[in-house]
Protein backbone atom coordinates (compact mmCIF):
# COMPACT_ATOMS: atom_id res chain seq x y z
CA UNK A 1 0.00 0.00 0.00
CA UNK A 2 2.12 2.86 -1.29
CA UNK A 3 -0.73 5.28 -0.87
CA UNK A 4 0.37 8.81 -0.08
CA UNK A 5 -1.42 9.88 3.06
CA UNK A 6 -3.32 13.10 2.59
CA UNK A 7 -3.72 14.87 5.91
CA UNK A 8 -6.97 16.58 6.76
CA UNK A 9 -5.59 18.45 9.79
CA UNK A 10 -2.04 19.70 10.18
CA UNK A 11 0.00 18.92 13.28
CA UNK A 12 -0.46 22.55 14.36
CA UNK A 13 -4.26 22.29 14.23
CA UNK A 14 -4.37 18.92 15.98
CA UNK A 15 -1.99 19.79 18.81
CA UNK A 16 -3.53 23.21 19.49
CA UNK A 17 -7.06 21.77 19.24
CA UNK A 18 -6.43 19.24 22.01
CA UNK A 19 -4.42 21.61 24.21
CA UNK A 20 -7.31 24.08 23.92
CA UNK A 21 -9.74 21.28 24.79
CA UNK A 22 -7.78 20.41 27.94
CA UNK A 23 -7.50 24.08 28.96
CA UNK A 24 -11.17 24.76 28.24
CA UNK A 25 -12.46 21.80 30.24
CA UNK A 26 -10.19 22.71 33.18
CA UNK A 27 -11.30 26.36 33.01
CA UNK A 28 -14.96 25.35 32.85
CA UNK A 29 -14.86 22.93 35.78
CA UNK A 30 -12.82 25.23 38.02
CA UNK A 31 -14.81 28.29 36.92
CA UNK A 32 -18.08 26.65 37.94
CA UNK A 33 -16.49 25.68 41.26
CA UNK A 34 -15.53 29.33 41.83
CA UNK A 35 -19.07 30.48 41.03
CA UNK A 36 -20.39 28.16 43.74
CA UNK A 37 -18.59 30.23 46.39
CA UNK A 38 -20.75 33.22 45.41
CA UNK A 39 -23.56 32.24 43.01
CA UNK A 40 -24.79 35.84 42.68
CA UNK A 41 -24.06 38.25 39.85
CA UNK A 42 -24.08 42.04 39.82
CA UNK A 43 -23.74 44.94 37.41
CA UNK A 44 -21.34 47.82 38.01
CA UNK A 45 -18.23 48.07 40.14
CA UNK A 46 -19.18 46.29 43.34
CA UNK A 47 -21.57 43.73 44.75
CA UNK A 48 -21.94 41.61 47.85
CA UNK A 49 -24.69 39.90 49.84
CA UNK A 50 -25.83 43.29 51.15
CA UNK A 51 -26.51 44.58 47.64
CA UNK A 52 -29.23 43.68 45.17
CA UNK A 53 -27.94 41.18 42.60
CA UNK A 54 -28.64 41.32 38.89
CA UNK A 55 -29.54 37.63 39.20
CA UNK A 56 -28.82 34.64 41.40
CA UNK A 57 -28.19 31.05 40.42
CA UNK A 58 -30.54 28.93 42.54
CA UNK A 59 -27.92 26.53 43.84
CA UNK A 60 -26.38 26.00 47.28
CA UNK A 61 -23.11 27.76 48.00
CA UNK A 62 -19.75 26.59 49.33
CA UNK A 63 -19.66 29.48 51.83
CA UNK A 64 -22.18 30.18 54.53
CA UNK A 65 -21.91 33.91 53.99
CA UNK A 66 -24.28 33.58 51.04
CA UNK A 67 -28.00 33.21 51.82
CA UNK A 68 -29.13 30.57 49.33
CA UNK A 69 -32.17 29.14 51.07
CA UNK A 70 -30.52 25.72 51.25
CA UNK A 71 -29.78 24.29 54.65
CA UNK A 72 -26.44 22.82 53.62
CA UNK A 73 -23.21 23.86 51.97
CA UNK A 74 -21.28 22.44 49.06
CA UNK A 75 -17.63 21.51 49.59
CA UNK A 76 -15.29 24.47 49.16
CA UNK A 77 -12.61 23.71 46.57
CA UNK A 78 -11.58 27.26 45.66
CA UNK A 79 -7.89 26.84 46.51
CA UNK A 80 -6.84 24.39 43.81
CA UNK A 81 -9.63 25.61 41.55
CA UNK A 82 -8.06 29.06 41.47
CA UNK A 83 -4.56 27.69 40.91
CA UNK A 84 -5.79 25.42 38.08
CA UNK A 85 -8.04 28.11 36.56
CA UNK A 86 -5.18 30.54 36.07
CA UNK A 87 -2.68 27.88 34.97
CA UNK A 88 -5.21 26.68 32.39
CA UNK A 89 -5.77 30.27 31.29
CA UNK A 90 -2.04 30.52 30.57
CA UNK A 91 -2.19 27.26 28.61
CA UNK A 92 -5.13 28.63 26.61
CA UNK A 93 -3.47 31.97 25.90
CA UNK A 94 -0.07 30.50 24.95
CA UNK A 95 -1.71 27.83 22.77
CA UNK A 96 -3.82 30.52 21.14
CA UNK A 97 -0.78 32.68 20.40
CA UNK A 98 1.07 29.74 18.78
CA UNK A 99 -2.03 28.79 16.77
CA UNK A 100 -2.74 32.30 15.52
CA UNK A 101 0.93 33.13 14.88
CA UNK A 102 1.79 29.95 12.97
CA UNK A 103 -1.67 29.78 11.43
CA UNK A 104 -1.26 33.23 9.90
CA UNK A 105 2.23 32.54 8.61
CA UNK A 106 1.16 29.25 6.99
CA UNK A 107 -2.04 30.55 5.44
CA UNK A 108 -4.18 28.27 7.62
CA UNK A 109 -6.89 30.87 8.11
CA UNK A 110 -7.00 31.90 4.45
CA UNK A 111 -7.14 28.28 3.31
CA UNK A 112 -9.41 26.73 5.91
CA UNK A 113 -11.45 29.36 7.69
CA UNK A 114 -12.01 32.58 5.76
CA UNK A 115 -15.17 32.12 3.70
CA UNK A 116 -14.92 32.94 0.01
CA UNK A 117 -16.89 35.84 -1.40
CA UNK A 118 -19.29 33.48 -3.15
CA UNK A 119 -19.81 31.54 0.10
CA UNK A 120 -21.12 34.71 1.66
CA UNK A 121 -23.85 35.36 -0.87
CA UNK A 122 -27.33 35.35 0.59
CA UNK A 123 -28.47 32.31 -1.39
CA UNK A 124 -25.43 30.22 -0.41
CA UNK A 125 -25.81 31.19 3.23
CA UNK A 126 -29.51 30.40 3.22
CA UNK A 127 -28.99 27.01 1.61
CA UNK A 128 -26.27 26.17 4.13
CA UNK A 129 -28.55 27.15 6.98
CA UNK A 130 -31.36 25.05 5.47
CA UNK A 131 -29.03 22.05 5.18
CA UNK A 132 -28.01 22.38 8.79
CA UNK A 133 -31.62 22.66 9.93
CA UNK A 134 -32.40 19.37 8.21
CA UNK A 135 -29.57 17.75 10.23
CA UNK A 136 -28.33 16.22 6.99
CA UNK A 137 -25.32 13.98 7.41
CA UNK A 138 -22.50 15.60 5.38
CA UNK A 139 -21.10 13.75 2.37
CA UNK A 140 -17.67 12.16 2.36
CA UNK A 141 -16.09 15.03 0.39
CA UNK A 142 -17.17 17.44 3.09
CA UNK A 143 -14.77 15.74 5.47
CA UNK A 144 -12.06 17.65 3.59
CA UNK A 145 -13.20 21.20 4.14
CA UNK A 146 -15.38 23.33 6.37
CA UNK A 147 -18.73 24.65 5.18
CA UNK A 148 -19.50 28.34 5.39
CA UNK A 149 -21.44 28.23 8.67
CA UNK A 150 -18.70 26.15 10.23
CA UNK A 151 -16.09 28.65 9.09
CA UNK A 152 -18.06 31.59 10.48
CA UNK A 153 -18.71 29.81 13.79
CA UNK A 154 -15.04 28.91 14.23
CA UNK A 155 -13.94 32.45 13.34
CA UNK A 156 -16.37 33.99 15.83
CA UNK A 157 -15.24 31.63 18.60
CA UNK A 158 -11.54 32.20 17.81
CA UNK A 159 -11.52 35.93 17.24
CA UNK A 160 -14.50 37.17 19.28
CA UNK A 161 -15.36 34.59 21.97
CA UNK A 162 -11.89 33.75 23.25
CA UNK A 163 -10.55 37.34 23.19
CA UNK A 164 -13.63 38.57 25.06
CA UNK A 165 -13.49 35.88 27.73
CA UNK A 166 -9.77 36.52 28.26
CA UNK A 167 -10.39 40.26 28.42
CA UNK A 168 -13.26 39.98 30.92
CA UNK A 169 -11.11 37.60 32.99
CA UNK A 170 -8.23 40.06 33.07
CA UNK A 171 -10.66 42.86 33.92
CA UNK A 172 -11.34 41.08 37.22
CA UNK A 173 -7.65 41.06 38.18
CA UNK A 174 -6.96 43.84 40.70
CA UNK A 175 -3.32 44.01 39.62
CA UNK A 176 -3.90 43.93 35.86
CA UNK A 177 -6.46 46.75 35.99
CA UNK A 178 -4.07 48.87 38.06
CA UNK A 179 -1.86 48.93 34.94
CA UNK A 180 -4.69 48.99 32.39
CA UNK A 181 -7.70 50.60 34.10
CA UNK A 182 -9.53 51.04 30.78
CA UNK A 183 -9.83 47.24 30.55
CA UNK A 184 -12.41 47.28 33.34
CA UNK A 185 -13.75 50.84 33.04
CA UNK A 186 -15.15 50.33 29.52
CA UNK A 187 -17.00 47.20 30.70
CA UNK A 188 -18.84 49.21 33.36
CA UNK A 189 -16.96 47.89 36.39
CA UNK A 190 -15.38 44.86 37.96
CA UNK A 191 -18.66 43.08 38.77
CA UNK A 192 -19.89 43.74 35.23
CA UNK A 193 -16.74 42.05 33.99
CA UNK A 194 -17.48 39.04 36.21
CA UNK A 195 -21.07 38.83 34.91
CA UNK A 196 -19.94 39.15 31.27
CA UNK A 197 -17.27 36.47 31.89
CA UNK A 198 -20.07 34.17 33.08
CA UNK A 199 -22.29 34.88 30.03
CA UNK A 200 -19.36 34.35 27.67
CA UNK A 201 -18.74 30.99 29.35
CA UNK A 202 -22.34 30.13 28.55
CA UNK A 203 -21.85 31.15 24.91
CA UNK A 204 -18.69 29.04 24.56
CA UNK A 205 -20.36 26.06 26.22
CA UNK A 206 -23.25 26.42 23.76
CA UNK A 207 -20.71 26.38 20.92
CA UNK A 208 -19.08 23.28 22.42
CA UNK A 209 -22.42 21.45 22.60
CA UNK A 210 -23.30 22.29 18.99
CA UNK A 211 -19.74 21.41 17.90
CA UNK A 212 -19.90 17.98 19.51
CA UNK A 213 -23.43 17.40 18.21
CA UNK A 214 -22.33 18.20 14.64
CA UNK A 215 -19.42 15.80 15.01
CA UNK A 216 -21.82 13.04 16.01
CA UNK A 217 -23.94 13.93 12.99
CA UNK A 218 -20.96 13.80 10.65
CA UNK A 219 -19.57 10.57 12.10
CA UNK A 220 -18.01 10.74 15.50
CA UNK A 221 -15.17 8.22 15.09
CA UNK A 222 -14.04 9.39 11.68
CA UNK A 223 -13.98 13.05 12.72
CA UNK A 224 -12.28 12.21 16.01
CA UNK A 225 -9.69 10.13 14.17
CA UNK A 226 -9.07 12.98 11.74
CA UNK A 227 -8.39 15.37 14.63
CA UNK A 228 -6.05 12.86 16.32
CA UNK A 229 -4.13 11.24 13.44
CA UNK A 230 -4.79 13.89 10.82
CA UNK A 231 -6.22 11.30 8.42
CA UNK A 232 -9.73 11.66 7.06
CA UNK A 233 -11.64 8.90 5.34
CA UNK A 234 -10.18 8.25 1.90
CA UNK A 235 -12.56 7.72 -0.98
CA UNK A 236 -11.23 4.32 -1.96
CA UNK A 237 -11.20 3.13 -5.60
CA UNK A 238 -13.74 0.41 -4.95
CA UNK A 239 -16.23 3.06 -3.91
CA UNK A 240 -16.41 2.03 -0.29
CA UNK A 241 -15.77 4.82 2.10
CA UNK A 242 -14.11 4.51 5.41
CA UNK A 243 -13.19 0.86 5.24
CA UNK A 244 -11.94 0.95 8.79
CA UNK A 245 -14.97 2.71 10.13
CA UNK A 246 -16.61 -0.24 11.83
CA UNK A 247 -15.97 -0.18 15.53
CA UNK A 248 -14.06 -2.93 17.20
Amino acid sequence: MAQTARLRHSVLVRVTHWLTTIAFVALLVTGLELVVSHPRFYWGETGNVNTEPLFKIPIPSSRHLVPTGYGYMLPDQNGWSRYLHFQSAWLLVLTGLVYVGLGLSRGHFRRELFPTRSDLSATRLMSSIAEHLRFRRPSAEEAWSYNVLQRLAYLVVLFVGFPLIIWTGLAMSPSFVSAVPAAVNVLGGQQSARTLHFFLTGALVLFLLVHVFMIFLAGFWSRLRAMITGRAIELAENGRTGAREERA
Binding site: S37, T46, N48, L65, W80, F86, Q87, P174, A179
Partner: protein
Protein backbone atom coordinates in the same frame (compact mmCIF):
# COMPACT_ATOMS: atom_id res chain seq x y z
CA UNK B 1 4.70 6.39 9.38
CA UNK B 2 7.72 7.98 7.75
CA UNK B 3 11.02 7.10 9.33
CA UNK B 4 12.86 9.88 11.06
CA UNK B 5 15.95 10.86 9.13
CA UNK B 6 19.24 11.51 10.89
CA UNK B 7 18.90 15.21 10.10
CA UNK B 8 15.44 15.35 11.70
CA UNK B 9 16.73 13.58 14.79
CA UNK B 10 19.63 15.98 15.13
CA UNK B 11 17.35 18.97 14.61
CA UNK B 12 14.89 17.66 17.20
CA UNK B 13 17.74 17.07 19.64
CA UNK B 14 19.16 20.55 19.16
CA UNK B 15 15.72 22.16 19.53
CA UNK B 16 15.00 20.18 22.71
CA UNK B 17 18.38 21.05 24.22
CA UNK B 18 17.96 24.72 23.28
CA UNK B 19 14.46 24.71 24.78
CA UNK B 20 15.59 23.11 28.04
CA UNK B 21 18.61 25.43 28.24
CA UNK B 22 16.42 28.43 27.49
CA UNK B 23 14.01 27.45 30.26
CA UNK B 24 16.85 27.00 32.74
CA UNK B 25 18.30 30.41 31.85
CA UNK B 26 14.83 32.02 32.05
CA UNK B 27 14.29 30.46 35.49
CA UNK B 28 17.66 31.77 36.68
CA UNK B 29 17.00 35.30 35.41
CA UNK B 30 13.47 35.23 36.86
CA UNK B 31 14.89 34.16 40.24
CA UNK B 32 17.48 36.94 40.23
CA UNK B 33 14.92 39.65 39.43
CA UNK B 34 12.42 38.44 42.01
CA UNK B 35 9.93 37.07 39.50
CA UNK B 36 9.42 33.69 41.18
CA UNK B 37 6.78 33.45 43.93
CA UNK B 38 7.51 31.41 47.08
CA UNK B 39 4.81 28.88 46.16
CA UNK B 40 6.38 28.15 42.76
CA UNK B 41 6.80 24.43 43.46
CA UNK B 42 4.22 21.77 42.71
CA UNK B 43 1.94 21.17 39.75
CA UNK B 44 0.52 24.72 39.74
CA UNK B 45 3.98 26.31 40.01
CA UNK B 46 4.33 27.10 36.29
CA UNK B 47 1.04 29.02 36.18
CA UNK B 48 1.76 30.88 39.40
CA UNK B 49 5.24 31.83 38.24
CA UNK B 50 3.97 33.05 34.87
CA UNK B 51 1.27 35.12 36.56
CA UNK B 52 3.55 36.65 39.16
CA UNK B 53 6.40 37.33 36.72
CA UNK B 54 4.04 38.90 34.18
CA UNK B 55 2.41 41.07 36.85
CA UNK B 56 5.75 42.20 38.23
CA UNK B 57 6.98 43.17 34.77
CA UNK B 58 3.72 44.96 33.98
CA UNK B 59 2.59 46.41 37.30
CA UNK B 60 5.58 47.09 39.54
CA UNK B 61 4.65 50.76 39.99
CA UNK B 62 1.03 50.90 38.83
CA UNK B 63 -1.65 52.38 41.09
CA UNK B 64 -4.87 50.61 42.00
CA UNK B 65 -7.91 52.48 40.74
CA UNK B 66 -9.19 55.11 43.17
CA UNK B 67 -12.86 56.06 43.13
CA UNK B 68 -14.85 59.24 43.75
CA UNK B 69 -16.46 59.59 47.18
CA UNK B 70 -19.90 58.93 45.71
CA UNK B 71 -18.90 55.37 44.85
CA UNK B 72 -18.15 54.34 48.44
CA UNK B 73 -20.36 51.30 49.11
CA UNK B 74 -23.33 52.16 51.32
CA UNK B 75 -23.27 48.64 52.73
CA UNK B 76 -19.74 47.24 52.81
CA UNK B 77 -19.62 43.61 53.77
CA UNK B 78 -18.10 42.56 57.04
CA UNK B 79 -16.60 39.16 56.28
CA UNK B 80 -16.71 36.47 58.92
CA UNK B 81 -13.69 36.22 61.16
CA UNK B 82 -12.60 33.39 63.39
CA UNK B 83 -13.41 34.05 67.08
CA UNK B 84 -10.99 36.62 68.46
CA UNK B 85 -9.02 35.27 71.37
CA UNK B 86 -8.50 36.45 74.94
CA UNK B 87 -5.51 38.62 74.03
CA UNK B 88 -7.60 40.55 71.57
CA UNK B 89 -10.50 40.97 73.97
CA UNK B 90 -8.21 42.25 76.72
CA UNK B 91 -6.74 44.85 74.34
CA UNK B 92 -10.21 45.75 73.08
CA UNK B 93 -11.47 46.42 76.65
CA UNK B 94 -8.68 48.97 77.06
CA UNK B 95 -9.68 50.69 73.82
CA UNK B 96 -6.63 49.25 72.05
CA UNK B 97 -4.41 51.71 73.94
CA UNK B 98 -1.84 48.93 74.38
CA UNK B 99 -1.98 47.63 70.78
CA UNK B 100 1.54 47.51 69.41
CA UNK B 101 3.12 46.77 66.06
CA UNK B 102 6.46 44.99 66.37
CA UNK B 103 9.07 45.49 63.63
CA UNK B 104 12.11 43.24 63.33
CA UNK B 105 14.28 41.37 60.85
CA UNK B 106 16.49 43.28 58.42
CA UNK B 107 15.97 46.67 60.04
CA UNK B 108 18.51 49.02 61.62
CA UNK B 109 16.16 49.85 64.51
CA UNK B 110 14.02 46.87 65.58
CA UNK B 111 11.31 47.73 68.07
CA UNK B 112 7.63 48.44 68.17
CA UNK B 113 5.15 51.24 67.60
CA UNK B 114 2.05 51.89 69.66
CA UNK B 115 -1.27 52.38 67.91
CA UNK B 116 -1.30 56.06 68.89
CA UNK B 117 2.19 56.53 67.44
CA UNK B 118 1.04 54.96 64.18
CA UNK B 119 -2.02 57.23 64.20
CA UNK B 120 0.20 60.28 64.67
CA UNK B 121 2.38 59.46 61.64
CA UNK B 122 1.72 61.11 58.26
CA UNK B 123 -1.42 59.58 56.87
CA UNK B 124 -2.70 58.81 53.44
CA UNK B 125 -6.27 58.02 52.41
CA UNK B 126 -7.59 56.30 49.35
CA UNK B 127 -10.98 55.18 48.16
CA UNK B 128 -10.35 51.74 46.71
CA UNK B 129 -12.07 48.46 46.04
CA UNK B 130 -11.55 45.36 48.12
CA UNK B 131 -12.33 42.12 46.30
CA UNK B 132 -12.80 38.79 48.00
CA UNK B 133 -11.57 35.70 46.19
CA UNK B 134 -15.16 34.40 46.47
CA UNK B 135 -16.31 37.05 44.00
CA UNK B 136 -17.90 39.82 46.08
CA UNK B 137 -16.52 43.29 46.62
CA UNK B 138 -17.03 46.74 48.08
CA UNK B 139 -15.47 50.19 47.90
CA UNK B 140 -14.38 52.05 51.02
CA UNK B 141 -12.12 54.87 52.06
CA UNK B 142 -9.07 53.62 53.93
CA UNK B 143 -6.80 55.84 56.00
CA UNK B 144 -3.53 54.90 57.61
CA UNK B 145 0.21 55.27 57.64
CA UNK B 146 1.93 54.11 54.45
CA UNK B 147 3.93 50.96 55.14
CA UNK B 148 6.97 52.46 53.40
CA UNK B 149 7.03 55.19 56.07
CA UNK B 150 7.15 52.65 58.90
CA UNK B 151 9.85 50.68 57.05
CA UNK B 152 11.84 53.86 56.61
CA UNK B 153 11.54 54.75 60.31
CA UNK B 154 12.74 51.28 61.25
CA UNK B 155 15.60 51.50 58.78
CA UNK B 156 14.71 48.56 56.54
CA UNK B 157 17.64 47.17 54.58
CA UNK B 158 17.73 47.85 50.84
CA UNK B 159 18.65 44.16 50.46
CA UNK B 160 15.24 43.10 51.79
CA UNK B 161 12.99 41.22 49.37
CA UNK B 162 9.83 40.66 51.43
CA UNK B 163 7.89 41.94 54.42
CA UNK B 164 6.17 39.31 56.55
CA UNK B 165 3.15 40.52 58.54
CA UNK B 166 1.18 38.68 61.19
CA UNK B 167 -2.28 38.87 62.68
CA UNK B 168 -3.14 38.56 66.36
CA UNK B 169 -5.20 35.57 65.22
CA UNK B 170 -2.91 32.60 65.56
CA UNK B 171 -1.98 30.89 62.28
CA UNK B 172 -2.75 33.96 60.16
CA UNK B 173 0.30 35.46 58.56
CA UNK B 174 1.10 36.94 55.20
CA UNK B 175 3.96 38.42 53.23
CA UNK B 176 4.44 40.70 50.26
CA UNK B 177 7.35 41.63 48.05
CA UNK B 178 8.99 45.06 48.16
CA UNK B 179 7.03 46.25 45.09
CA UNK B 180 3.91 46.09 47.26
CA UNK B 181 5.60 46.93 50.59
CA UNK B 182 7.01 50.20 49.23
CA UNK B 183 3.92 50.93 47.12
CA UNK B 184 2.40 54.32 48.03
CA UNK B 185 -1.09 52.84 48.44
CA UNK B 186 -0.06 50.09 50.87
CA UNK B 187 -1.25 51.25 54.28
CA UNK B 188 -1.31 50.15 57.86
CA UNK B 189 -4.93 51.29 57.97
CA UNK B 190 -6.55 52.46 61.21
CA UNK B 191 -9.54 54.34 59.80
CA UNK B 192 -12.31 53.40 57.42
CA UNK B 193 -14.81 55.75 55.77
CA UNK B 194 -13.66 58.64 57.99
CA UNK B 195 -14.19 56.84 61.31
CA UNK B 196 -12.36 54.39 63.49
CA UNK B 197 -11.70 51.09 61.71
CA UNK B 198 -14.39 48.71 63.02
CA UNK B 199 -13.26 45.39 64.51
CA UNK B 200 -15.29 43.50 61.90
CA UNK B 201 -13.24 45.12 59.17
CA UNK B 202 -9.90 44.46 60.85
CA UNK B 203 -9.67 47.22 63.45
CA UNK B 204 -7.66 48.51 65.13
CA UNK B 205 -4.98 47.87 62.51
CA UNK B 206 -5.30 46.28 59.10
CA UNK B 207 -2.75 45.91 56.33
CA UNK B 208 -4.34 47.33 53.21
CA UNK B 209 -2.77 45.99 50.00
CA UNK B 210 -4.70 47.59 47.15
CA UNK B 211 -3.59 45.55 44.14
CA UNK B 212 -4.33 42.11 45.54
CA UNK B 213 -7.39 40.19 46.71
CA UNK B 214 -8.85 40.83 50.14
CA UNK B 215 -7.00 38.04 51.89
CA UNK B 216 -3.70 39.93 51.49
CA UNK B 217 -5.28 42.81 53.48
CA UNK B 218 -4.66 40.99 56.75
CA UNK B 219 -6.71 42.03 59.79
CA UNK B 220 -5.45 42.76 63.33
CA UNK B 221 -1.79 43.23 62.36
CA UNK B 222 0.63 42.96 65.29
CA UNK B 223 4.07 42.48 63.78
CA UNK B 224 6.25 42.92 60.72
CA UNK B 225 9.47 41.11 59.80
CA UNK B 226 11.67 42.43 57.03
CA UNK B 227 13.56 39.64 55.29
CA UNK B 228 15.51 38.56 52.24
CA UNK B 229 14.77 34.89 52.83
CA UNK B 230 11.03 34.35 52.61
CA UNK B 231 11.48 30.58 52.47
CA UNK B 232 12.43 30.42 56.16
CA UNK B 233 8.93 31.31 57.35
CA UNK B 234 6.29 28.67 58.03
CA UNK B 235 6.40 25.92 55.45
CA UNK B 236 8.39 28.14 53.10
CA UNK B 237 5.42 29.04 50.90
CA UNK B 238 5.38 32.75 51.76
CA UNK B 239 2.23 32.89 53.89
CA UNK B 240 -0.41 30.82 55.61
CA UNK B 241 -2.64 30.96 52.51
CA UNK B 242 -0.68 28.51 50.33
CA UNK B 243 -0.51 26.19 53.32
CA UNK B 244 -4.31 26.17 53.11
CA UNK B 245 -4.28 25.74 49.32
CA UNK B 246 -4.52 29.37 48.13
CA UNK B 247 -1.92 31.17 46.07
CA UNK B 248 0.60 33.46 47.75
CA UNK B 249 0.33 36.12 45.07
CA UNK B 250 -3.25 37.35 44.97
CA UNK B 251 -2.96 40.05 42.30
CA UNK B 252 -4.14 37.41 39.78
Amino acid sequence: MSKLSRRQLITAGVVTAAGAGGLAVAAKIAGRYGLVPPDSGGIYGPGETLTYAAQRLLTRHSMAREFPRGQISAEPLMNEVAPLGEDFQRLQKAGFADWRLGVDGMVARPGSFSLSELQSFPRRSHITMIQCEEGWSYIAEWTGVPLWHVLELAGASPQATHVVYRSIQPDWWESMDMADALHPQTLLAHEMNGGELPVGFGGPLRMRVTRQLGYKSLKYVTSLTVTNNIKQFGKGLGSSEPEGGYSWYAGI
